[in-house]
Amino acid sequence: MAKAPSAEDIAALRERFSEAIVGVREGLGEVSAYVAPAFLLEVCRYLRDEPRYQFNLLSDLTGVDLGLDQEPRFEVVYHLYSIPLGHRLRLKAQLPSEGPSIDSVTPIWKTANWHERETFDMFGIVFEGHPDLRRILTPDEFQWHPLRKDFPVRGYDDF
């Protein structure tokens, strides 16, 4: 089963980024760290390069629509994994319902490219600095972002 970083590692991270990490939540043996969007790149680069963490693999990147009545409405979720150390960490950045946008992590992990395109396609979250932010799964002329909670499961008839 997945291993989370030790409590000391998390405490050290919170101390190092007292401003950037706005909260930590633990559950079912997994740790989620909430990152202020403005500091995302800094935190990610540190987590990848620092020998204590070595999160060299971005396992997954996706979005969540928390609901129409929620503010902040969107969450971008990063699942980091360290091949040498074998631990996992979940990073989360919360974004507002109007014009959600966040820095792209493609300079840190190349694999973010398609993940971010998918998240843009599905949620309409814009990734600043992405080299090629186009729709990836839906057609180019598609107007909606289907994984938003206000999009009906059966879609719209006129498409």
């Binding site: 089963m1 997994e30 396992s59 969540v64 490219n113 398609w114 990836i136 994984l147």
Partner: protein, 429 residues
């Protein structure tokens, strides 16, 4: 004979329009040898759309290739032709119904997809799975890995021109699918796994069938070696093609056999054991070259490692229940329903209303046949997932493909696609 520029162009690149460019270099006679110039400088590159119905693209993948003669300058994969909104659909269906959806993502590895999903839900529910169910799960997943690799070896060989392997490979795969049919009735989309255990126990005589397969299959592997591994043409087509370094592979998020072909001994069955994989003895084959040949070698050896695990499963298959002891989540046995009122009520409630899953979120990754297969499930405490995201290894591995084929010949593109073993059903979801 002295040629002027137009004649030179006509000779080296017949029928091409004159290039719009400034002269890059001039020799003493004032003639530029344009054969030294790249297609981009000459403006003579060609864009070729490969797919979506191309047989070597393993489904409906379209590649936009920018070519200079036969050399690939850049590649843009175009995906989404099979997009069916499975993640959206999963939000509207109950946890139990979603198992059938996972089958249809990577349709060559449905048992693995089932497993990743039910493990994630079971982690949210904190269910304890009995040892027999765990052993059946490992047995099924390893047989499925063999079946998936058989499709890979058949189509990969077919792509580079060796046709007969395909028939031998599908013949062997048929035996595995027949076994799946015996245990649950399904072949391509078995949906054999349930949250909390299995749909039903193994049928009588299954053990003997697996053992017969175990005794017969090594001969097929030897035949593949004769046909491919020792085949000089095949080897020349694969060696040194589609190279990716370990560092790049990790940055691109490549996992599974494709990562192990770049020399990184990373396998989630060893790194984060699930279903009791820590109890089994198996090796993780790695090859450092990072080319198509290395990836071929990794999967070729994984056949035998999976066989080792399957043999250990049938040797020490524990007896006991195949479902967790939880009436509120696990469907009762059919026989119990005919004799016990409470079993019938539980079945009705689970089938009609579903079961509630405690609030929380989980990311659970298993080693699928193609790499890290992760399920990220967010539960809001209801009987339907609030969000279910699938991290498909094919999706991520394909995104690295343009890097692997840059500068190689167009014939090598099909070799590279074959070597990363993609399934479009999972890429598009």
């Amino acid at each position: 004979m002295e040629l002027d520029q137009d004649q030179l162009r006509e000779r080296t690149r017949p029928g091409r329009p004159p290039a719009e460019r400034t002269i890059v270099a001039e020799d003493a006679s004032g003639i530029v040898d344009i054969s030294e110039l790249s297609g981009r400088e000459l403006g003579s590159t060609m864009t070729l759309s490969m797919g979506p119905q191309h047989p070597s693209t393993h489904g409906v993948l379209r590649l936009e290739l920018e070519l200079d003669g036969e050399v690939v300058l850049s590649t843009k994969p175009d995906i989404g032709y099979l997009h069916t909104g499975m993640e959206k659909l999963m939000e509207s269906k109950k946890y139990l119904s979603n198992i059938c959806i996972t089958d249809r993502m990577d349709y060559l590895n449905p048992m693995g997809n089932n497993l990743g999903y039910v493990l994630a839900v079971e982690k949210l529910l904190q269910l304890e799975i009995p040892p027999r169910a765990q052993c059946i799960r490992v047995l099924m997943c390893e047989l499925q890995r063999i079946a998936s690799h058989l499709v890979w070896i058949g189509t990969h060989a077919l792509d580079v021109g060796a046709m007969s392997v395909f028939f031998y490979a599908f013949d062997e795969r048929e035996k595995i699918l027949n076994m799946f049919e015996d245990v649950c009735g399904g072949r391509m989309t078995p949906s054999y796994f349930r949250v909390g255990g299995m749909f039903q126990d193994l049928p009588a005589g299954f053990d003997a069938k697996v053992r017969r397969f175990l005794s017969e299959f090594p001969a097929a592997l030897d035949a593949f070696d004769t046909l491919l591994t020792g085949n000089r043409i095949f080897r020349n087509r694969l060696q040194g093609v589609g190279v990716i370094s370990a560092e790049d592979a990790i940055s691109w998020g490549i996992t599974g056999p494709s990562l192990r072909g770049s020399g990184v001994a990373h396998d989630l069955r060893r790194a984060e054991p699930y279903c009791g994989y820590e109890l089994y003895d198996f090796d993780i084959p790695t090859f450092p070259e990072g080319d198509v040949w290395a990836r071929y070698q990794v999967r070729r050896q994984e056949f035998r490692e999976s066989l080792k695990i399957v043999l250990q499963c049938v040797d020490k298959m524990p007896s006991g229940p195949i479902k967790a002891d939880n009436d509120k989540v696990v469907l009762p046995d059919r026989d119990d329903m005919k004799t016990h009122m409470d079993a019938l009520i539980h079945h009705f409630l689970i089938a009609a209303d579903g079961f509630k899953v405690p609030e929380g979120e989980v990311y659970l990754a298993i080693e699928g046949s193609k790499g890290e297969l992760g399920y990220y499930i967010v539960s809001d405490g209801s009987e339907r997932p609030f969000r279910c995201h699938v991290r498909g290894p094919s999706f991520v591995n394909l995104s690295a493909m343009p890097d692997m084929v840059k500068g190689s010949l167009i014939a090598d593109v099909v070799a590279v696609i074959g070597s990363i073993d993609i399934v479009l059903g999972e890429i598009d979801r």
